[in-house]
């Protein structure tokens, strides 16, 4: 789980941030200082809180005995759970940046070159541009159509060419399903049914699930950058005519962050 910059963002949205682990306050202090973490890190050395939440990892042994299943609860001001996030596969982790983009509408960061295509500009962005193996992030395509034109949304039916974002899964990552902004219903030509369309600016989103660090590393250059190509197909029409469908290639450029293996001084480590 990324532990840094997002916390101020969360606070601005009215939520406090607290992290709980089985470490001692001295270990937490060392970690907080190194990582410049200002929100409270709570020490639960006997795993009392972890057990009372019912999230103790019972398979963890020896020095790891007492750790929780890592995850997060979004809790409202009255102390009730609004949402919770845990990954079944311990090698994968949800990211708070993805949560902020998905649930709290935080705009994603530009993550590649804008493509100026015919009658549309397409910008790739992402909930995070620096990532680690196993993370789930959100990729978005921000599309800006030329004035007076519309493009057909998914569900427009067989008579129309709907927007389509294709990306190929490989060893380093896989994609989730595309989620699109709410289309507008438009009466088109002689069609008795209104058709779902986008006009002006609209956004498509989908989850990107990264494989283990070593697998993503294989794609990365010397600076840790790696590319995620995809194609975006669309057809634009005005109220009088339709233009030929277009397929453009869009590319996200992300940077793989190395795992920071730094530990606390030996005397602070859990035996």
């Amino acid at each position: 789980m990324e532990l840094g910059e997002w916390s101020e963002d969360v606070k601005k949205r009215g939520y406090g941030v607290v992290a709980i682990s089985y470490d001692t306050p001295a270990t937490l202090k060392n970690f907080a200082d190194r990582k410049k973490i200002s929100y409270p890190l709570l020490s639960d050395p006997d795993s009392k809180i972890i057990k009372s939440f019912g999230i103790l990892n019972e398979k963890a042994k020896d020095f790891a005995a007492g750790v929780p299943h890592p995850g997060m609860f979004v809790v409202n001001a009255a102390g009730k759970v609004e949402a919770k996030y845990f990954e079944e596969d311990y090698r994968e982790r949800f990211t708070i940046s993805a949560l902020l983009t998905n649930r709290f509408g935080k705009p994603a960061q530009i993550a590649g070159e804008q493509v100026v295509a015919k009658r549309a500009r397409i910008t790739p962005s992402a909930s995070a541009t620096t990532v680690r193996g196993g993370e789930h992030i959100v990729l978005t395509l921000n599309v800006d159509l030329s004035p007076g034109l519309h493009a057909y949304a998914a569900g427009a039916g067989e008579d129309y060419i709907s927007v389509d974002w294709k990306g190929e899964t490989n060893d380093a990552y896989r994609f989730g399903d595309v989620e699109a902004g709410k289309p507008k219903l438009l009466k088109v030509g002689g069609d008795p049914q209104p058709v779902p369309v986008y006009e002006g600016k609209f956004t498509l989103k989908r989850e990107l699930i990264l494989s283990a660090q070593a697998k993503v590393q294989k794609l990365a250059d010397a600076e840790g950058k790696f590319r995620i190509p995809a194609t975006f197909k669309y057809q634009t029409c005005s109220d009088r005519l339709c233009y030929p469908p277009e397929t453009v290639t869009v590319e996200w450029v992300l940077r793989l962050d190395g795992h920071d293996g730094t530990r606390v001084p030996a005397e602070l480590r859990r035996k």
């Binding site: 532990l3 009215g14 939520y15 406090g16 941030v17 607290v18 992290a19 709980i20 682990s21 089985y22 470490d23 306050p25 270990t27 937490l28 202090k29 060392n30 970690f31 907080a32 929100y39 409270p40 890190l41 709570l42 020490s43 639960d44 809180i49 009372s52 939440f53 019912g54 999230i55 929780p68 299943h69 890592p70 995850g71 997060m72 609860f73 979004v74 809790v75 409202n76 001001a77 102390g79 009730k80 759970v81 609004e82 949402a83 919770k84 996030y85 845990f86 990954e87 596969d89 896989r174 994609f175 989730g176 399903d177 989908r206 989850e207 699930i209 530990r263 606390v264 602070l268 480590r269």
Partner: protein
Amino acid sequence: MMIRSALLPLMATALMGQNFADKLGPAVGTSIPSIEATDQNGKTQSFASVRGPKGAFVLFIRSADW
């Protein structure tokens, strides 16, 4: 696991992930247990002292050391 990640669409994996989360900890809509513990600065904190006007993100991490 391989079959799940390779073949099923996200909707299914999201649901499976959701089921996994469902089994862990207090259910959505229910109250969390009390949180009272010492923070990295030696200060005693509780849910009331860490929450903002809307609530709090309560994270459980494996360890701050390894």
